[in-house]
Symmetry: C2
């Protein structure tokens, strides 16, 4: 009997972001991707969200390698945090991904801890930890994305990474349908496929269409052109630069992450920028508007980013002027819509015309739509399918596509983060679950902010806080001074309401002390309930009530 392989997604299923897949057999563990996600509204005050690494910590000695499908934050961003927790002997990735990761590990002071190995799809099969591995080029919104193929004891697994089927990619590296077809002919036991756009009918537009739109818009304008896009979207930057060159514009890169990524991509030969095309920000005032192009960060309306600063008239080098055309060449990540709209409004108020994806074709997705997923299913003809990368609705849509493609319903696995899926004897099925979830990074703390803190922050944010301080004599069990009541974030309470709260606290404490109740916890509880009730009756609100009873 053949062996078996266990697939354990630690992130990216039932959500968009923090992608991480454990591929485990008796020979050891290979982890595909180590991504982070950005906090949602309810993650009040949280900076970053990481996968829960507990399972990997518990099996540290089995870890042979991490392999990264591409350089986006939701696939590589958790790597520094992972390396702080567990030892990873080898990190595999293609050239650009490796370049981005090197710079990231360097910033975290972790570069010495890991052996970085370049994955080269054209080199054919290689040994990756305990498995024979192949890499297949996939088109995506960052160069050098790959699918990872692992021959494991349980069977051959194809993990697509993120992809679209772009027949005219900017760098010429198409999704390698030939290599995928060859894999299909050799036999694929399990497909782990990107589901992000599985719900959307048809196909995504080619990245090249955005360049064509740039080419239509930009030469018509006499004013300055500003383009905001994701810092990692090297193809988008290349296309903007190509049009600038044709239209006689100099290009100024503004935004730390954009400059960093373009530098790395240039050094590694992934982007072609004539040296004399680029100008520094302090040269901008010397240029005519019609010879100016500014590429910048801030396409998500991030508070401290270049475009947001410009919009709010707070940028050191660039002030938005009448006649400027701003192209926001990205789509707001769900949850960022209002911030992006605010930015657009401020830019419009300063006199700019703003073109964004709701009203002009200045962005395309990097994820294939339903017909592209069908193509991959048809080419690979996998025995089993496990949709990955997406909210449940997307995974479910991908499962429907697999069923339509002829995959037996019993061979389609809708897993969750923490699911254990066993691949053995040509069949993948759910066999258990391990600890999984989210680890919050807040300031310097990793993992110490938990649900309780978030619940408290939520409560505080709803109606603020009312603090009631009461002093009790430790000797005589009598009240020492009149209670203090302090309100924050509560509204503008009339002085009389705070007086009432004070009286209520005093009445409560006197009554309890009169009954010889002196246990601090009990006193606090009664004050909490009495003052809370009063405030609710008077205002309809439920601030957090924090009674502090001091023995003096």
């Amino acid at each position: 009997m053949a062996g078996s392989t266990r697939l354990i997604p630690l992130g990216g299923l039932g959500e968009v972001g923090k992608n991480m897949m454990v591929v485990e057999s008796d020979d050891g563990i290979v982890v595909i991707d180590a991504g982070l996600s950005f906090p949602r509204d309810e993650h009040l005050g949280v900076d970053l969200v990481l996968p829960d690494f507990s399972y990997l910590q518990d099996h540290e000695s089995d870890i042979r390698a991490v392999v990264l499908t591409h350089g986006h934050e939701d696939h590589v961003g958790a790597l520094p945090y992972l390396l702080r927790e567990v030892r990873v002997p080898e990190i595999w990735a293609t050239g650009l991904t490796l370049g981005l990761v090197k710079s990231k590990l360097d910033e975290h002071g972790l570069l010495k801890d890991a052996e970085l190995i370049e994955a080269v799809p054209e080199d054919g099969p290689t040994q990756l930890g305990p498995y024979t591995a192949e890499f297949v080029r996939m088109a995506h919104s960052i160069p050098d994305a790959v699918a990872v193929v692992l021959d494991t004891p349980g069977g051959r697994i194809v993990h697509t990474g993120d992809y679209k089927i772009d027949h005219t990619p900017v760098d010429g590296f198409r999704t390698d349908l030939g290599a995928l077809a060859d894999l299909g002919n050799r036999g694929v036991d399990l497909l782990l496929g990107d589901s992000t756009n599985a719900e959307r009918p048809g196909v995504t537009q080619s990245e090249r269409t955005v360049g064509e739109v740039f080419r239509q818009i930009i030469p018509q304008r006499n004013g300055r052109i500003l383009i905001a896009s994701f810092a990692s979207n090297v193809h988008r930057v290349q296309q903007a630069i190509d049009v600038a060159l044709e239209d006689g514009r100099k290009v100024c890169l503004i935004g730390r992450s954009l400059r960093k990524n373009v530098n790395i991509a240039r050094n590694l030969g992934y982007i072609d920028v004539p040296e004399d095309l680029l100008v520094k920000p302090d040269v901008l005032p010397e240029l005519r508007p019609d010879e100016t192009m500014i590429l910048c960060t801030g396409s998500q309306g991030e508070p401290m980013s270049a475009l947001t600063r410009m919009a709010f008239n707070d940028h050191q080098h660039v002030q938005i002027e009448e006649g400027d055309t701003v192209i926001i060449s990205a789509k707001p990540v769900p949850g960022n819509e209002l911030r992006v709209h605010d930015t657009i409004n401020r830019l419009a108020k300063s006199g700019a015309e703003v073109l964004h994806q709701e009203i002009a074709p200045v962005h395309v997705s990097g994820h294939g739509h339903a017909e592209e997923l069908r193509t991959i299913l048809a080419v690979l003809r996998p025995r089993n399918v496990m949709p990955v990368h997406g909210e449940f609705r997307m995974l479910a849509a991908h499962a429907r596509l697999a069923r339509d493609a002829g995959v037996d319903a019993n061979h389609i696995v809708l897993a969750e983060n923490g699911s254990v899926v066993e691949l053995a004897n040509g069949r993948a099925e759910l066999v258990g679950a391990v600890e999984s979830g989210a680890t919050f990074v807040d300031g310097l703390g990793v993992g110490d902010v938990q649900d309780v803190a978030l619940r408290d922050r939520r409560h505080l944010s709803e109606d603020g806080v009312l603090i009631v301080v009461v002093t009790v004599g430790s000797q005589n069990g009598r009240e020492i001074a009149a209670p203090e009541v302090i309100a924050r974030g509560f509204g503008e309470p009339e002085a009389s309401l705070l007086d009432e709260a004070r009286d209520e606290a005093e009445r409560t404490i006197e009554e309890l002390l009169g009954q010889n109740v002196t246990e601090l916890k009990l006193l606090q509880e009664h004050i909490h309930d009495a003052v809370g009730r009063l405030i609710r009756e008077r205002t309809g609100r439920r601030p957090m009530i924090l009674p502090v009873v001091l023995e003096v």
Copy 2:
């Protein structure tokens, strides 16, 4: 010399929502619309947002009437709050709007305070307060929407209300281009035009196309059909009911506002529902899936709504099952995207197939796109244009359309809430500003939650709160008991960190008292700074530090 008229928008400019326009001359004030808006993320804990009524309070004796263009909350929702603040002699609206408003005023116990007068477009010119008024039918996503035409001392003003140019509206009441053309021929001095979709190219689809999509989807399904839409979208409900009738399905209405609106619309003859088509929720278990249609509220993922409860398996009557098809026939209002996605994911997890506007044509907008706005501009040929109803980017796009239509740039007014725009001698221009802004409704309080409270709530929500209580003897100026430190929403501080904070507070207070500093404010300030600095250094966080110094 002719007279002049002042237009003062108190809401709806630079934002989507809380629409309100003051039309003032020496003869008195007519207010067009009295809308509310829903709080944004940063309005922590706020329930509703109203226009600032200060200007109307200051000019109460001049108010002659409020006229409502249609029955959406962002046009009528603030009316009860307005009536509590100022006396309004007359309220004008068309039949359905009046029906909805009556029910609303009744709930607030305000029905007796106002004289409600039905506006009937077909009746021709009428006297509305000091002005001659006409009403023109406009198609929108609620029946009985009208444009309001006022002949004022400064000239003829056309306020479009919200509209689209739907040539095949469900109720047959088209946007009355004939009446608008007649107005254009007679001369329009100022157009106040809906700008919501001014950025979007082309035209909106007709409401009827959604009915056609229902007709394609629903008869193909053997399972139950659930449709969530805005409770006020009477045409959408009518079309769903028509398809249910054709497909042999019974219809169950779930959600208080939906039942209320359908009742009002039925009683007034705006919707046609055979009595035996409707069933109560307790009859649902007796129906086969293929004879069931459930219409419900919750298209915005509102926490307590019918669809959200069903999605989270918390509804009294309806449990989502494998085979159900859920149609979310609405677009998320910006800011609601994540909640709607959550709802979709939960529905999909329970086995439903969910069709929503991102992936299927199950919704159309009620606001005309650019080409429709151009048509209105061409038909009315206004001397002056003041874009209303929309964020600045939308107003600016509308201004561009007006310029393209041949309106002189000096006759296009980009105003803000609180702007005073004077119309006199055929020219509209900005002449000043009055107090304006937002009034927050939080619980029972109207207006007492101000920016300070929101800033505090924001701060509390970021990193929580640390309360430091210190007691000082009023006699001897010495510390009485060791400081107390309490953290909420801060994370899980190690006990040692709280100890450190306590020590830091103690050190600070002892040092100050040693220097004979006993002023409470000063003591608090120093404790605030010292503890804040410590916490920031140790954790990278900035919780709100609340020092409480008690004299006992």
